[in-house]
Amino acid sequence: MNKPINQSGWKPGTPVASDGSEHPTVTGNKALMLEEALIFEIGGTDTCGVDLPETPTDLPSRLGDFGRKQGTGLPGLSEPETVRHYTRLSRQNYGIDLGFFPLGSCTMKHNPRLNEKVARMPGFADVHPMQPTDTVQGALGAMNELAHWLIELTGMHSVAMSPKAGAHGELCGILCIRAALEARGDARKVVLVPESAHGTNPATAAFAGYATEDIPANKDGRVDLEALKERLGPDVAAVMITNPNTCGLFERDMKAISDAVHEAGGFVYCDGANFNAIMGRVKPGDLGVDAMHINLHKTFSTPHGGGGPGSGPVVLSEALSPFGPLPFTARTDDGYIHLVEEENADEYDHTSAFGRMTAFHGQMGMFSRALTYILSHGADGLRTAAGDAVLNANYILRQLEGDFDAPFAASGPCMHEALFSDEGFAEGFSTLDLAKGLIDEGFHPMTMYFPLVVHGAMLIEPTETESKAGIDQFIMAMKSLGERVKAGDEALKSAPHHAPRARLDEAQAARKPILSWMRDEG
């Protein structure tokens, strides 16, 4: 029998030891900040949250030996207890609805409430993928219209809507490239990935069966064009480039890169996770891109992980379009939206599809929200959103470049994210210490230790969401923390001091995680 473990370290009905604060409480609560135990520690297994009618217990079982011999051990909580449990936990959490969430590369932007209103319309929310198409023309029409706008905004030829996340979209794009190469009898083995690309890129290529090779970055933080050209050859299937890249820079040589790759018979995959910085300004199709995924949960303001998987549609060039996956929507002149599946693919001249990415058509809840964002902003609004995101990042870069080392500040304006290193921190002080101090100041930390090309990296992405007043507050906190980390303020080593839990032992949590809760039988 395993030793029972109380993971919360806190139990109702048991006085807590003083945490050393000036005004300790016996409950562990601090006025509006309430302590909370695990749900198993609140609800007894002998109680039930609902009133069930008395049932005779001597009825013969029709389950035979399959009947459960012991209780389920599930906690019984009343509705108010359950609601309070999750509400209390949510108050110990931090989200974009509470404040600035500057995670670089993750693009945490505001989710407009209009999106939510539209997504809840019964015609979008209460449909089933197996419904006859003539009963879901509205939902299919919205999908088809979103597809149209994604093609229009990227200047590409077609779009595969079904991938359920950015990395899933990457896989879809690489499988299209593989299908196109195999169709011409030219199975190539290698995918080139620059150092400044997202980490999922080499993982995707390897998953699709390719060997991956690095292409170095130049001192500006961009792809080394000459090194890339030198490596191109008849074995290179594709180059995967993140643009804007993870150093927050636009790859100025993109067209030259595409031309060189095409000349060598390969394809260009662009990681479009950072498309929010260039939408309405640059069309990837004009840059020679063959495939690019778009994270609807980043660029088009749908929630991260909200109510199911994300959505990562992939736009395709003319060369790759014949190999795009099924199903997809097609609108005929009579206005009817058809679903193109294996059975009718030949009617739509789409017989080379590499297969499917998902059982059904994609993530409707994300489609309705993204289309709402696009239509409510309009072309000028999307263009402004990208401009504001870039302006906000540059404001942070220039305000803080005197306080922190900004390795690529001399490479010109940044795009949507500002990048700093830990150079100049006092001996023994790290980016982690600064990030923990930022929690005490009431901000979610920025992305840390990524990209890998910068030591102790801090990658800050404000998006267009933040006002100047909000950004100024963040800059003030960062300047103060910069002084403390350079002066070697010991209090930072044990930060956060005001969070519901103090500094956690992250190494121990990763080395010996406790992932199950055992009931205390004693």
Partner: protein
């Protein structure tokens, strides 16, 4: 016995026909607290520069490369339960794997302790 170092911050202890390989103190310092190590299986064959092991810290996951070609004699199974050995004793108990050396010529051009220290000082 002779000890060599690589620009990838690995050390190679050569004893006759076998070599013990690990990561340097400088490398563990950069990685931070190591939380997981995956060492190669006995009998695995590597060419020079092939990915041989994985080390994961609270900051990042990194590959460890075979600095010379050879066949794995043994991976350090102690790292499975005690990955922190890489932090506490990187150049001793925290070794990663042992190899039979395929080509001693590959040792030429690697750094000695003094050259490696100078290399690190310049970073």
């Amino acid at each position: 016995m002779a000890r060599y170092f690589t620009e990838e911050h690995e050390w190679i202890e050569v004893d006759g026909e076998t070599a013990i390989i690990g990561i340097t103190d400088f490398a563990q310092e950069q990685l931070g607290d190591v939380v997981f190590v995956e060492v190669p299986d006995t009998g695995a064959e590597f060419t020079k520069g092939a990915e041989a092991a994985v080390v994961e810290s609270v900051k990042a996951a990194s590959d460890v490369y075979a600095p010379i070609a050879g066949t794995v004699l043994e991976g350090n199974s102690a790292l499975e339960d005690e990955p922190e050995l890489v932090n506490t004793a990187p150049e001793a108990e925290g070794w990663f794997f042992k190899l039979t050396i395929a080509d001693k010529g590959e040792l030429e051009g690697l750094m000695d302790a003094k050259a490696y220290k100078a290399f690190c000082d310049e970073l």
